[in-house]
Subunit: 190 residues, 2 copies
Amino acid sequence: MSSLQARKQELVRDAIWDAAIELFLVKGFDETTVEDIAAGAGVSRRTFFRYFASKNDLLGQGIMEYAGALRETILACPAGCPATQVVREAVSRVAAQYAAIPRTKQIMRIAELYPAARAAQLSRTAELQELVREAFAGRGMSGVEAGLLAGVTLALLSVIFRAWFAAGATDIGRAVEEGLGTLRRVLGAG
Amino acid sequence: MSSLQARKQELVRDAIWDAAIELFLVKGFDETTVEDIAAGAGVSRRTFFRYFASKNDLLGQGIMEYAGALRETILACPAGCPATQVVREAVSRVAAQYAAIPRTKQIMRIAELYPAARAAQLSRTAELQELVREAFAGRGMSGVEAGLLAGVTLALLSVIFRAWFAAGATDIGRAVEEGLGTLRRVLGAG
DNA sequence: TTGACAATGGCACTCAGTGCCATATAATTC
DNA sequence: GAATTATATGGCACTGAGTGCCATTGTCAA
């Protein structure tokens, strides 16, 4: 399915995304209207909404694109696989994928600058955590286990991205191990 | 500050809240407009926005009312206090407080029924997690530790509320212990 | 080339959210 | 108790988000 239409759609989607990020960084998130973005991308306002459900969706869609991969990774681990191993694989894989998207850093920068943008991203993160919870529950875990592991998984992802964003490059596999180690150590005492 | 004005404000706030919950449960969340709520509370649309920043705020304000208590509990623990103890106290205290609010169950019911309402609540939960993270960081922890503990804390709260909502009453102290135990067990292997 | 199908643009509409100002009600002062 | 000052409210008007509808344009297949 790489027809001319599909490629044009990808082009338009990218144009919208680029125009939006540019404007967010220059004018600010709240000050940029959908109309501005559409104009910047050379497209009508109406068309914008055919690609993105909302202005916030511009920030969240990148996250959600990999929700499926996260879910599959969790469900793909063999039945007897210990929970930490599942978390390890899921976090490593998704972090690596997400870090590879060029727009990720710019989006994190925008979220860092503007509270409304940060709120939009946090909202998506919470949504993603729900999906992860359901995936863990699908592995035959109790609701409590699934909920806690989902929390741990997303917290790890968040911590890793924070480090990755702050320090430039990060060895993601190593960061996951350190995070799990920290968690064990902190929870172990008391 | 329990003047006549203050008591009237409380009255109006409650009237709006009650009207909103009633309408959400009867008409549905998306189908209920701010104008409906204002009319139901016997107040103008403009006045609604003087009490609540948005329709979503009706669902989130209950959560955020206790953000301060959560933060203080975390910061109040003595310096050498182990992290699990901090988490234990924070979760226990806030869970008990939040469970005592009459509207909590109805709001959870609404969030259960309507995706948009659930999204609004999740958004607030994520916001709360940020505050908790900052509180842990304020205890002199590393960013990684703070991020992970905040994730664990909110996951525990979520799990406990889920149980509390499903099963009617729950021994919150016991639930916290079980949650922490589950977490140690699950993370210990592998 | 023609006909089916998808993408786009433009229009109009509802609703959220906000600034502004006039009015009414409470608190304060004399 | 009357006058004055704050504060809460209501109404109005405005911008912007998001959506349904339809005419138009461009793409694909026969």
